[in-house]
């Protein structure tokens, strides 16, 4: 069942259109992450769902009912803010119970509900404190408690982790995911951090300049990015995007990579769909993830058909050890590719070697539109 429907939603500030028609439908129990660079309109969209920003055009429905005209408190949603937005003059208990107080819930019932939520979040011993006496992580929990206690149809999170330090952020990320699995709640979560998006989401919506670029599962977004922006934005290290030429070779196609005085590198491709075949003889942008490149000792990716592999000659430019892997920047035909290789390599900058490419998840983009050729 669709829990949240966003139909052709636009937002204008004067003449400026900050959201240019967004369509998203979220099922019950889904964890939708809105991700994009700052200024892409993701927070505005969240505010519009919450009802604290007006909708210029289009319609938002919660559980099938139009909410455009409803006051935020009547939309059956709860929101966790980036700054936590805890009322500084109230204790934790009063903060969590405030919405019920506003809805005139009897005190005994209110206190019981606050206790229950505090137990889930393990903040029972903090109930009498004020926000100023709490640490960042504790404030975060209280902010979540304030949302949980309302038992809303949809939870809205507005960059809830970006004020925490790196260590705590990872812990809280896991907590939020646990909470989602436990409550099976519908969540809309805004972040600019692509790792948060990948780890938390059941579906990701990537936005840029008020437009929805792609909506899909983390795997779809990661493996089949809709355009070069999505390809470069999602994933760390970034996907290598190389200008290349698609040429016919024997029965199939091959990619030719060449720039400057480097010798031309030719990569025979596995059988391609008709859309790609139509590009034969034209320029394309080839995208390849770092883990699709391996050196001699480790098999690349999970493709097992020999025809999905290719071998190229590359020169090592830079080695970046991260601990579990070493990121290696290679020069192939004058262009740079990043490879994720094993930690203890006997490669040095300047070395030439053969590298295996797993072409299962190779993506090709049209250079004029920057869109995926599919």
């Amino acid at each position: 069942m669709a829990s949240l429907e966003i139909h052709g939603v636009k937002k204008r500030f004067g003449a400026q259109e900050v959201l240019k028609g967004i369509d998203i439908s979220v099922d019950t129990g889904e964890f939708l992450v809105l991700v994009g660079p700052s200024g892409c309109g993701k927070s505005t969209l969240l505010n519009m769902i919450a009802g604290v920003d007006t909708i210029s055009e289009g319609e938002i429905r919660v559980a099938g009912a139009r909410v455009n005209e409803l006051h935020p408190s009547e939309r059956d949603i709860a929101m966790v803010f980036q700054s936590y937005a805890l009322y500084p003059n109230m204790t934790v208990e009063q903060n969590i119970g405030f919405s019920m107080e506003m809805h005139k819930v009897p005190k005994a019932e209110r206190l019981a509900a606050v206790r229950e939520v505090a137990k889930i979040l393990q903040i029972e011993d903090l109930l009498k404190r004020r926000p100023s006496q709490l640490s960042g992580g504790q404030r975060q929990r209280v902010a979540m408690g304030r949302a949980l206690v309302r038992k809303p149809k949809i939870f809205l999170f507005d960059e809830p982790l970006s004020n925490l330090d790196a260590h705590l952020r990872v812990d809280m990320r896991t907590e939020i995911k646990k909470l989602h699995q436990r409550l099976y709640a519908t969540i809309v979560y805004v972040t600019h951090d692509q790792i948060e998006a990948m780890t938390l989401a059941t579906r990701i919506a990537i936005m840029r300049k008020g437009e929805l670029l792609q909506l899909g599962t983390p795997a779809q977004i990661y493996n089949r990015p809709a355009n070069t922006f999505v390809a470069a934005f999602m994933g760390s290290p970034r996907m290598s995007l190389i200008p290349a030429r698609l040429v016919p070779q024997g029965e199939g196609l091959a990619l030719e990579i060449q720039r400057g005085d480097r010798p031309k590198v030719s990569i025979p491709l596995p059988p391609q769909p008709p859309a790609v075949q139509a590009f034969a003889g034209r320029e394309v942008i080839a995208g390849l993830r770092a883990e699709a490149i391996s050196n001699g000792s480790r098999p690349a990716g999970n493709g097992n058909g020999a025809q999905r592999r290719a071998v190229v000659d590359g020169q090592v430019v830079v080695l970046e050890p991260t601990g579990p892997d070493t990121l290696v920047v290679l020069n192939v035909g004058g262009h740079e590719l990043t490879a994720r290789l094993e930690p203890d390599l006997d490669l040095r900058p300047g070395d030439r070697a053969e590298f295996k490419l797993d072409l299962t998840n190779l993506v090709l983009f049209d250079p004029s539109t920057e869109k995926l050729i599919a």
């Binding site: 604290v52 408190s73 700054s83 003059n89 506003m102 004020r130 100023s132």
Partner: protein
């Protein structure tokens, strides 16, 4: 960590004698200059009249007496009426307290609307309100007199409260608006989602966190309204005059020798309330009441 503290102190220690002596010398000198009139007033108010006419202004009283203070309060002549200034003190209180409360309350509400319920033209409206801060009192005297007359509140405490509220609004709105500009919008949004409406957001979320700005506004308004002379002299008559006007009349009433000690005592009494507001308000003023609402 102790090491890092040593360096600045070491730097300061060089040339300690000469610069410190100059700094403290100047501070003491100017403190004395500012305190001297107050000292003379206080000493004079505790001296019997012959002693004042006989001698040194800054000398301690040879015979301490509270008579002048009692006389000022109950017996001093204001014009032809010799019942002391107590009635006028009460007039000022009746005028100042409602005027401060109303103008502060309305200013806070204005600031709340101008920052958290922004509407088209909010900035223009604020600019116009701000403009009111620069209108000199003298310009509005005659129109205001006409207006008060037509409203039927001329020469009354109600009329004075009205005048001070209107004049004070520009300043209280300015203070509150600037304070609420820095007040996190997210708290208002959170309260909206929690089900609070216009007035409950104001009362439950903004007001409890407005301590510092309420203190500032109250100090400013109280001082201005209590000390105002021009409006008091223009829009009140005889028995309804505020303290400042009465004080002027006490000093100007000339029958026989001038009772400087009584005048000084009356002036001190007139100044006491504003002094008290500073003493009690200043403490709360420095407290950061916003701590913990957002990160930082």
């Amino acid at each position: 960590m102790a090491k890092t503290w040593e360096t600045p102190q070491m730097v300061q220690r060089t040339g300690f004698r000469s610069s410190r002596v100059v700094v403290y010398g100047l501070l003491v000198f100017f403190a004395a200059v500012y305190l001297l009139p107050l000292l003379v007033m206080l000493l004079t108010s505790f001296k019997p009249l012959p002693e004042i006419y006989a001698g040194n202004m800054v000398a301690l009283p040879r015979q301490w007496t509270v008579e002048p203070w009692l006389n000022a309060w109950t017996k001093a002549c204001v014009g032809l009426n010799c019942n002391g200034i107590k009635g006028y003190f009460w007039n000022s209180t009746k005028m100042t307290v409602p005027a401060v409360v109303i103008s502060t309350g309305m200013g806070l509400l204005n600031g709340y609307v101008l920052t958290k319920w922004r509407f088209r033209g909010a900035n223009v409206l604020f600019g116009l309100i701000l403009f009111g801060c620069f209108i000199p009192f003298q310009i509005v005297l005659i129109p205001m007199a006409t207006f008060l007359g037509r409203m039927g509140i001329a020469s009354s405490t109600t009329g004075l409260v009205f005048v001070h509220v209107v004049y004070g609004l520009c300043f209280t709105t300015l203070y509150a608006r600037n304070y609420y500009m820095a007040f996190p919008d997210e708290l208002v949004k959170a309260a909206m989602i929690d089900g609070a409406r216009f007035f409950s957001i104001f009362r439950r979320v903004l007001l409890p966190n407005s301590g510092p700005i309420i203190i500032v506004t109250v100090i400013w308004q109280f001082t201005n309204i209590w000390n105002d002379f021009l409006f008091g002299a223009s829009f009140s008559t005889g028995e309804s005059a505020p303290m400042t006007v009465a004080l002027n009349n006490v000093v100007m009433t000339s029958t026989g020798e001038r009772e400087y000690n009584v005048h000084m005592a009356a002036a001190m009494i007139a100044a006491l309330p504003t002094l008290m507001v500073y003493v009690f308000g200043g403490r709360y003023f420095v407290r950061g009441l916003m701590a913990g609402s957002v990160k930082g």
